[in-house]
């Protein structure tokens, strides 16, 4: 299934053309048309949430939250079209990274809610969709115009998407200003430069642009764009690195005209038995939580470095976490 979205209305028809060329048909399913508060997916969500004892968590409140509407719509669309061949094209008018992040959170909610029947039911519906997102069975194709602020925001959206494990089929830079439409050379040259910058920033994600009024196909299969690894330096510290293509766009200045231009890096533990289970990266309006390996779970982060699209976090062992009193051997857990 191919989720398709555009940062601005101007890119919609272009990216849908690209999607059609990519999958080989022109049928488009509108995600918004599945956002029905009477849908049974909603029933499962409200049932799972209401078991918490929060009586004021009415079905109306949940239905009023766009996140739940979009997540429920995505679940429904996946159940109906997820295995279509050729792949279904699903138009999303909102933020795909936001929907996918909310899907992930809702999955965690279902886990937290325990083994009750409602939470088990919800989990059973969410799990296949989450698995499809992580396996690449659900991909994302995205359009942004060749305008500096737009490309910056698009790049950060991509960084957020890959940070939650989604696969990005590609980014289409469209529309491009054309000479035949009367746009001055200066604007056309600037647009091409911005496109070139996007290609560099988003590597290895396929980034293409329209040419001569034609929207390109994105034939290349998706790949795991986010890369994480851990090395041990000469001093014995563990350096965890996470690369999020698109994150380097934070260097271009404040996002959305705001006054905040910073990448925040921290750690968090979902398990009280360990000091660290996740590295948390917050940038613009996005938060990426990346689960660390077993060794780093028993370590504590002391600082972080951000360079382009890569974050490096230095970890030191927490002595109490190692029963023998010895620090872990290199590569051990």
């Amino acid at each position: 299934m191919l989720l398709v979205s555009s940062l601005t209305p101007s890119g919609r028809s272009w990216v849908l053309d690209s999607a059609a060329r990519t999958v080989g048909h022109e049928r488009v399913v509108d995600l918004g048309s599945f956002a029905d508060p009477n849908d049974d997916v909603f029933d499962d969500i409200t049932s799972a949430v209401s078991i918490t004892g929060a009586q004021f968590t009415s079905a109306d409140l949940i239905a009023g939250l766009r996140s739940f509407r979009d997540v429920a719509a995505l679940v429904r669309v996946w159940e109906l079209h997820g295995t279509d061949e050729p792949r279904a094209v699903v138009w999303c008018s909102g933020s795909v990274p936001q929907v996918l992040a909310d899907l992930e959170v809702l999955g965690e909610l279902a886990d937290v809610a325990g083994t009750s029947l409602p939470s088990a039911t919800l989990r059973a519906r969410l799990t296949p969709v989450l698995a499809a997102v992580r396996s690449g069975d659900i991909e994302w194709l995205f359009a942004t115009p060749a305008q500096p602020d737009a490309v910056q925001q698009a790049s950060l959206d991509v960084a957020a998407a890959v940070g939650i494990g989604a696969t990005v089929r590609g980014v289409l830079v469209a529309p491009m200003p054309r000479q035949k439409d009367g746009w001055p050379k200066e604007i056309r040259v600037q647009a091409r430069e911005i496109y070139g910058r996007a290609v560099m920033d988003l590597h290895p994600i396929t980034t293409l642009r329209t040419r001569s009024g034609e929207a390109p196909a994105f034939p290349a299969a998706s790949m795991d764009a986010a890369q994480a690894s851990t090395i041990v330096d000469a001093g014995g510290d563990r350096i965890f690195t996470l690369t999020l293509p698109g994150l380097s766009a934070m260097e271009y200045g404040p996002v959305n005209g705001g006054d905040i231009q910073q990448v925040h890096v921290g750690t968090w533990s979902a398990d009280p038995a360990y000091p660290t289970t996740h590295v948390v990266v917050r940038f613009a309006e996005h938060t990426v939580r990346w689960e660390v390996d077993a060794t780093l779970r028993r370590c504590r982060a002391i600082d972080a470095v951000v360079a382009d699209d890569t974050i490096a976090v230095t970890f030191v062992p927490v002595q109490e976490q190692w029963p023998s009193g010895r620090e872990p051997e290199e590569g051990g857990a």
């Binding site: 929060a54 739940f68 937290v112 200003p177 470095v305």
Partner: protein
């Protein structure tokens, strides 16, 4: 010149007729990309009486920085916590987990 100035930015304009399926229907009412408020995270805070700060401490919402919910009346999650505490006792004692630890960040 005037005509040029009155023209909308090319990147905000609708697709032109050269595009075969030029039927762009921008949704003006749609907050669109980047409009997310993390409302799922907020709602997840509602399960705080069951799961403690497990989710709120994830660092994924502004609420994660809030300590005493009574001190943040503008925060939806805090309001919910206060509301829950006023109407019911938690079925399970909240398990206190550390909040996200933010690190000093250097630019290379």
């Amino acid at each position: 010149m005037n005509e040029e100035m009155e023209r909308p930015p090319w990147w905000l304009s609708e697709s032109n007729g050269d595009n075969a399926s030029g039927n762009a229907t921008g949704d003006a009412a749609d907050p669109g990309i980047g409009g997310g408020l993390g409302d799922v995270w907020s709602l997840l805070g509602m399960v705080g009486n069951m799961a403690g700060d497990w989710l709120a401490a994830s660092g994924a919402s502004e609420h994660a920085d809030h300590g005493d919910p009574r001190e943040h009346p503008d925060c939806l999650v805090c309001k919910v916590f206060v509301g829950v505490q006023s109407v019911t006792q938690p079925a399970i004692e909240p398990e206190q987990l550390p909040r996200a630890r933010w690190l000093p960040v250097r630019r290379a």
